[in-house]
Symmetry: C2
Subunit: 197 residues, 2 copies
């Protein structure tokens, strides 16, 4: 029998910290892993690898293993920057195969109630990039939630003094939902029908 | 941006191997871990620790970190052995605080369709323990499923030639359910109302 202080209970405690995983699910996962030591090793190695290798791109702040990331280093349209809240949203947009410009990850959205103001986001870096580069259009692809919309409006206010076109993803994506979870076809539609902000 | 071959995608692949976790949940967990590097390290260390430390007790085959386990080494009633399918069931019985004897973990139950015969279970070891020791009663606490009931009947047949009392957990636990998921009070009731097999 294992006591509360055993390594298995510590593992259950660690698994419980994950979103959507409670005591029973954590216990079930721990016992499942116990039956497959090879998977347990592979998972542990994977975790260390991700921790050591993955970091934000110094240019666009998307998560990457290279400096700069493959999109910043690749042959993409440098005249256009798509601003997203996080790397998951970036991946959803990439899955649509309809966007060929650059990205800028804000690493969050404005949320005064949670203490997230403009200074917490990568907005200064975005303005610097636009001033330095040959950017003609900024496509704001923050989520269609209250916070995302507020962030979009704030960005419009900040960017309107610069000489560029500011666009927003088309309202094809249902209000109140996360871009991350929308199917690729809808994302593609929203990219094509983007409207001037 | 991360490619399919990146460490994060390998982590997603490893997380997907866990029961009840699909592609999207795995991605969500991976991104959550990415935001909390300390938790990622702790989880990786926990996994390695469990893999290195946890093993079956050489006496009762319950998972343990010590040889023998704390129950086998502890001050428990050696005249009684409770036979369970796995260590999860043992933990459910321990949570009831109503049992003070020894345990024996079969490491499964008879399941001819899945190729699990009596030789795959720790039945020989159970018989040896009973022959060696001062065991007066064997309480069969296999699950109340078809396979669990079949295992109980098989154990009864094997053990009846030995001079001991063979009991079964009372039918308070609903048929077709796993002991692991029953609340502690019901388990306590079932322990008190155990019937002769």
């Amino acid at each position: 029998m294992l006591t509360k202080s055993s390594s298995l209970m510590r593992l259950v405690g660690e698994l419980k910290k994950l979103p959507g995983i409670g005591e029973r699910t954590a216990l079930r996962l721990a016992f499942h892993l116990l039956k497959t030591p090879r998977n347990m090793t592979a998972l542990a190695e994977s975790l260390c690898e991700v921790r050591d290798l993955v970091h934000p791109c110094p240019v666009c702040f998307a998560i990457t293993e290279t400096d700069p990331c493959s999109i910043c280093a690749g042959n993409r349209d440098a005249a256009m920057i798509c601003v997203v809240e996080n790397s998951q949203d970036l991946m959803a947009l990439e899955r649509s195969n309809a966007y060929h410009g650059m990205y800028h990850v804000l690493e969050g959205c404005l949320s005064p109630l949670n203490g997230v103001g403009p200074d917490c986001l990568r907005i200064t870096e975005l303005v610097e990039r636009i001033k330095d580069g040959a950017v003609k259009e900024v496509l704001i692809a923050t989520n269609f939630t209250v916070e995302g919309e507020a962030t979009a409006l704030y960005l419009k206010k900040v960017l309107k003094q610069l000489d560029l076109k500011i666009t927003r993803l088309a309202h094809g994506i249902p209000l109140g939902s996360d871009i991350e979870f929308v199917d690729a076809a809808t994302v593609q539609w929203a990219l094509q029908g983007r409207s001037e902000l």
